[in-house]
């Protein structure tokens, strides 16, 4: 351990501002990039599934009465 106490660790020998600003920006950007990739994937899957379902319904309108599409319609409303 290079530091005696938590306050010494945070102070970084007077260079705390520089060290923590650098690490903070790096951490935030890495985290932000991961969250963005996750949100991107979720939105994409949601949109594509909706499109596939819509096209399936258009392809066979009579299937509306089937229990599967009924259930799906219910999920989408909630």
């Amino acid at each position: 351990m290079a530091f005696d106490s938590l306050s010494a660790f945070l102070a970084m020998g007077g260079h705390g501002v520089y060290v923590w600003a650098s690490w903070g920006v790096t951490g935030l950007l890495l985290l932000g990039v991961v969250l963005h990739a996750r949100a991107e994937r979720r939105a994409l899957l949601r949109g594509l599934r909706r499109r596939v379902r819509r096209e399936q319904r258009q392809a066979c309108p009579s299937a509306d009465a089937s229990p599967v599409s009924h259930q799906e319609g219910h999920v989408r409303e909630s």
Partner: protein, 246 residues
């Protein structure tokens, strides 16, 4: 060999194999970055000249490595796309550009912050700093170019050409500290010589560098998978995949 490359270039096959590889790279990135951070921040000894401000090196150097490696990867992917028309290379290139820009920004920002206590200034128009700033603008250019065309193929080709031309900047960044007078210290790591730092200082740096590379691979796999779904959404296998609820 050619059969393997052909298979690798198939989006369907890539989608399946990347799903299995992805968790390992995320796990490696998490463990390496956490261990490297704890070691670098709390356990590595302070520098005898710079004190504790030298700990910025543990984010500055990995970010700068990635910033340059990602641009080279984009140029190589651009070449593969232009020569062999392998679409997956173009998808990966498109997906890694924002991370490259982010890492270039991190390298510039942490360098500027580090410069205040070390050099007494946060910015100098010297060769290393200026060529890194040019790299940031090249990233912006590649990203903007992709959004500037209505045809995806034109956008891909334009971005590939810019990446292949802009990659000239990478050796300039690398050798800028040798070719010109600069405030920036010379390379920290070298293949041919022993590190100028003691083991307790460079081991956490190596761990952080490996962690950042794992992060880059994991993120690129994840985003390329998304891009495959986006571009191949009318393909049969994607339809089947979505219909199954996965």
């Amino acid at each position: 060999m050619w059969a393997f490359i052909h298979k690798l270039g198939s989006p369907k096959w890539f989608y399946a194999i990347s799903a299995r590889l992805q968790p390992w790279f995320w796990a490696a990135a998490l463990v390496l970055i956490l261990v490297g951070s704890a070691w670098g921040l709390a356990f590595a000894p302070a520098d005898y000249q710079q004190g504790n401000s030298f700990r910025i090196i543990y984010v500055h150097v990995p970010a700068a490595f990635l910033a340059q490696s990602i641009f080279v990867s984009m140029a190589v992917a651009g070449l593969i796309f232009m020569v062999w028309k392998i679409k997956i290379a173009d998808m990966a290139a498109a997906m890694m550009a924002p991370l490259g820009a982010a890492m270039t920004f991190v390298a510039l920002f942490s360098g500027a912050v580090w410069g205040v206590p070390t050099w007494g200034t946060w910015w100098m128009w010297d060769a290393r700093l200026t060529s890194m700033l040019i790299l940031l603008f090249l990233y912006f250019g590649v990203i903007a170019l992709r959004g500037a065309f209505s045809s995806r193929d034109s956008a891909s080709r334009a971005a590939s050409v810019l990446a292949m031309v802009g990659v000239i900047n990478i050796p300039i960044i690398k050798y800028s500290v040798d070719w010109w007078y600069t405030l920036h210290q010379p390379a920290t790591f070298s293949v041919t010589s022993r590190p100028a730092m003691p083991l307790e200082m460079w081991a956490p740096l190596l761990i952080m560098v490996l962690g950042f590379y794992s992060f880059f691979i994991a993120l690129t796999l994840m985003r390329t998978r998304s891009e495959i779904l986006r571009r191949e959404s009318s393909k049969r296998w994607v339809r089947d995949l979505l219909g199954e609820g996965r």
